[in-house]
Symmetry: C2
Subunit: 642 residues, 2 copies
């Protein structure tokens, strides 16, 4: 206890001890419950605008809230339409060849993807709130749907397979809408960014490998998606000879597509070069095959795309029978994945243009679009990252660009689908390969490695899961690793020993600030988390271990530890298990003749300390506003020691 009383009133050393720890006015049970329900499910206060309005005005606002088009539509003008028209045409020219290709990933005939690109963007334009997203079938969801459906019905030529696809689409929509209506949108936040990066990259590689079938003109190909089986198929087929005409077509158009992509990347203004190159590839290659009749030399072609507008599929959906269960299961998974992708895209572009996106409303729009889609022969649609980027760069202003695209697809369906007959599959494979390579985001992976090793692990887990096992397993690994991280977070919160920064009353982690010095006779520990049942025991034991470590270290020389101050600033909440843990901590310390001091408990913690009488047990005079106050009362009034 050296230096008692010396230099205690130096500038900034101790503050006048004028404030006590506050307890906010006590809330009634109803207020308390209301507050937590609002914060959990309605953090955006969706009903605020309805307050104090007349009945008809409320109806009007409700309509606008469900169909945002009635809100932004009133300010719509010709200038905006010019932007939307051009971008709509651009994404249409990109989506038509992509659609025909992606349908194959879902093991469906090409027209179903075109149907999807006609109905779903229309519905979204009325209900969605993103201005930049481009709606339609996407590669990853198509692959996922194809894999999951084939697990249930392996014969994908059968009519049951098609019906199951519509059923899954219907339940994907129901899932999405339910998440929106029940305001459970936060559930999709449980798929971490890192896991998504890995999953997407894995899916992209898997999709690209699958394209080797069309690209090399291989006739018998494995149905599995893992890299080992696929490469086996590829090299087995090499013995019977690959089809060199197909390879020539594939390689040349892939080169063309990649070069245009490269040009667009180097010069952002030339983005349209990459955007229209798939359409050009289709036109040129189709014409070439038609002229040379290369299909007679073994070049596989599309053969048939059904002409005409979507037929109804309402009666095709399984609402009972043995396929109802699988339909729901596949639908829930595909719906969640599709939603994750759409919300990620929506958020990215909303942040770039600084407008706000209502997640729950987006989910309802997605849900409505897929439900309506499932009744009109569409399969699961979502936001496409590549087409949304093109949409944004082409200067879209509102969701009208989706309407323009939808009309172009409609005209295509009505007029020119027969022309796709001679389109070689190799070109479609090239288009897919060129498109999905953009999903492998190597910079993001490098950033993950740099910032957070655990995130990198999650990313790699999902990636290797997808490419070596299957899409579902990859997804499962992604979710499992994401959850493991959350569990670690809640069971093993951090704690830190604090010391005083020289010449201040600021107390900081001594590991981060080696200059900070500890207080003679006192140990100060900060607990960095709410204290709940999942971590209360760990926290208690960790504090006691800090104490034991410090006692062992300080044994030589300085005086024994008489006070243990727990800095509670980060402890936003405590539950009954936490209260019990502190009671036990208090009793253990009592036995060892060490005083327990609390610094800066928050409002909720104060309330619970009082409700449980723990505040009386510890003593009101042991609860301080700041660590500095505690030190100035119980500390050695002088210099700190290490």
């Amino acid at each position: 206890m050296a230096n008692i009383g010396s230099s205690s009133r130096r500038h900034g050393d101790t503050l006048p001890h004028i404030h006590k720890v506050g307890a906010p006015p006590k809330q009634t049970l109803f207020q308390e419950i209301k507050h937590s329900v609002v914060e959990t499910f309605f953090p955006d206060k969706p009903l605020e605008q309805f307050k104090g309005q007349t009945g008809s005005r409320k109806f009007h606002l409700g309509l606008q809230s469900l169909f945002p088009i009635f809100e932004w539509g009133r300010d719509y003008n010709l200038k905006k339409f010019r932007g939307d028209f051009i971008s709509g045409l651009t994404i249409a020219s990109l989506c038509i060849p992509q659609d025909i290709a992606y349908a194959k990933l879902a093991n469906l005939d090409p027209q179903y993807a075109l149907y999807t690109s006609f109905v779903c963007p229309l519905v979204y334009a009325f209900m969605g709130s993103s201005r930049d997203i481009a709606i339609g079938p996407v590669a990853v969801v198509s692959l996922l749907l194809g894999t999951l459906l084939t697990d249930e019905i392996s014969d994908f030529k059968s009519h049951e397979y098609l019906r199951l696809a519509f059923t899954a689409t219907f339940f994907a929509g129901v899932t999405q809408m339910a998440l929106g209506v029940l305001r459970l949108g936060f559930l999709i936040d449980f798929l971490s960014h890192a896991a998504i990066v890995g999953f997407m990259a894995g899916a992209a590689i898997t999709i690209a490998l699958q394209q080797l079938k069309g690209f090399l003109g291989i006739k018998t190909f494995t149905k599995k998606t893992d890299i080992v089986s696929v490469l086996h198929s590829v090299f087995d087929a090499a013995h019977h000879g690959w089809n060199w005409e197909t390879i020539v077509i594939g390689v040349s158009f892939l080169a063309f597509l990649l070069i245009t992509k490269y040009i667009a990347k180097k010069n952002k203004k030339l983005f349209w070069v990459a955007a229209i190159s798939p359409m050009i590839s289709v036109i040129v290659s189709t014409f070439f095959v038609y002229i040379t009749r290369a299909d007679k030399k073994g070049v596989a072609i599309v053969k048939h795309v059904k002409k005409g507008v979507n037929p109804s599929s309402a009666s095709e959906i399984f609402f009972s029978g043995k396929y109802l269960g699988p339909g729901i299961r596949v639908g829930v998974v595909a719906g969640m994945v599709a939603l994750t992708e759409a919300v990620a895209i929506g958020r990215t572009f909303a942040a770039m243009k600084d407008y706000s996106l209502d997640g729950n409303k987006e989910m309802m729009a997605m849900g409505a679009m897929n439900i309506i889609g499932s009744l009109t022969s569409c399969y699961v649609a979502t936001g496409s990252f590549s087409r949304s980027a093109v949409n944004y760069m082409a200067g879209c202003k509102t969701a009208v660009s989706n309407i323009v695209m939808s009309i172009v697809v409609l005209l295509t369906l009505l007029l020119i689908t027969p022309l796709f007959k001679y389109t070689p599959n190799a070109v479609l494979a090239s288009i897919i390969i060129a498109a999905v390579l953009g999903l492998v985001n190597i910079e993001a992976v490098i950033l993950l490695w740099k910032i957070d090793k655990f995130d990198f692990l999650a990313c790699m887990g999902a990636f290797f899961g997808v490419i070596f096992i299957s899409v579902e397993i990859g997804l499962l690994i992604a979710v499992a690793i994401s959850f493991a991280k959350i569990l670690l977070q809640v069971t093993r919160p951090r704690t830190a020993v604090l010391g005083r920064l020289p010449e201040t009353t600021v107390y900081r982690n001594i590991q981060q600030y080696p200059k900070a010095t500890q207080i003679n006779g006192m140990l100060i520990i900060r607990v960095d988390s709410a204290i709940y049942f999942s971590n209360s025991n760990y926290i208690k034991e960790r504090i006691l271990r800090w104490l034991a470590d410090e006692e062992a270290q300080r044994r030589s020389g300085s005086s024994r530890i008489e006070y243990l101050t727990v800095e509670m600033s980060p402890v936003t909440d405590i539950d009954t298990s936490g209260i019990h843990a502190f009671e036990e901590l208090y009793k253990t310390l009592q036995k060892r003749k060490i005083q327990l001091i609390l610094a800066n408990p928050g409002p909720i913690v104060m309330e619970k300390l009082h409700a449980s009488k723990l505040a009386d047990l510890i003593g009101e005079d042991k609860i301080f506003l700041t660590v500095a106050d505690a030190v100035s009362t119980f500390g050695p009034k002088g210099e700190a020691v290490v």
Copy 2:
């Protein structure tokens, strides 16, 4: 921007701006991984004592660590043995009648519970580290096991049922041991205290209701455990007449047991009165029935308890076949529940006597004891709360009291089991009822209500789940509610607006401290959680909403908000999603011409801010050690405004 520069150097107003935010020395990847593995799985540093020891010493320490008896056994003396001998005899007299009764809950013959009370305490005495726990069959686990096993094999008289019970016990032991060896003991922390209170109370009521069969002498009784079915059975049986002789025996001994319990509660020194009263009840009632031959008048009796020591059951366990799966399933559930109970008991008494309990080692001891038990005709054993309390009060010193109890049970098995033939079932029912009523902890429930409404909800959910549906459903509800709480915690962390306490440089939540005043032109927000993928979007949006709310409030009069300070003290970690969210926040604020300022980011956050170049984007000069520093640099240099 009123009062620029006035009174800025008042006492305690601003501190010399001498410290920068520290970044600790960068760790290598290996150090980083090692550190987090150690903190997660080895927070107690179990291998520290082995460091720098010779080989034989290491072996010695390892043996002691696996069998703590070799450690404490060396200091064992006669004085300790006296305490252990008396307490061992006391718990033996309590456990023998309880065992015979509890075996019925598991639908097993009475001798199996006695076998369990012979072998398991012996094994525990060698391997366990608790000094107070009393090992044996307990009511709740017996009921759970009985219910789960009957779901698989409804004919509990069959030999398969018995074999399945041993199989489940074996896998319960394997589960427990695996959790210990893999150091996953923290998993049992996921059953919250509140949920356990509710589950235990529900199980107690359910068990008590089940006893009405024996208590009222009802012959046909429902196999379901829910309160509605049971009361139905009871009142249906009323028509055929209950057996009045049985009721007389039951009621009188229940009254006796409850009175002795009440005496023991009032006068702690008379605890032994309650402890030996079950044995007295058994002896007196058995003698009474034998004399009066009341069994001929319809009083149900035990009839037969097999004499002799445990036979081997190694060959009875299903290691293959259709019962392997159910055996594993039941074993995992029963093992986890048994473990939760044992660890809770162990911790309670360890805290009362201030010795430390190694959770993972306890699990290995429990696991070994149940595995060995399953090979010697025992079923799942764990710590009994009532017997442990008696053990503690009778002055036990070490686990030797368990050995004494075990020997008494062995003698019972060898010599006096035939004497239990005339023990009336009604007395066993009374013993069970008296014992399980102690599991209904009304004070704990009231405390839950007072401290944390959500905990109360979890408790009630588990309670009503057990009594109205079934034990499994109650358990499931308990786990589900516990998890929901964790999910809420990680997705909806709290944020608070800070203001300055008058005459200090301390910034606190303005809701808790209404006197705290906000700073002109600056909004200060504290984020109260690590920022992970599960909450990064919510935090970003919540900060922007605080900003919008404050802008709306401050519009009248004072100057516009130019600075947004985020107090990061509680933010112990951030992952890539969190970094992205801050990037987006920064961009949005840029668009609105608001500067983003960070105060006191922790060591890990600083490292990641640098690794991601976000620190450069925000600007090193915008990152401060304290909020006070940020205000003194960018604030209005004068008075604060509301």
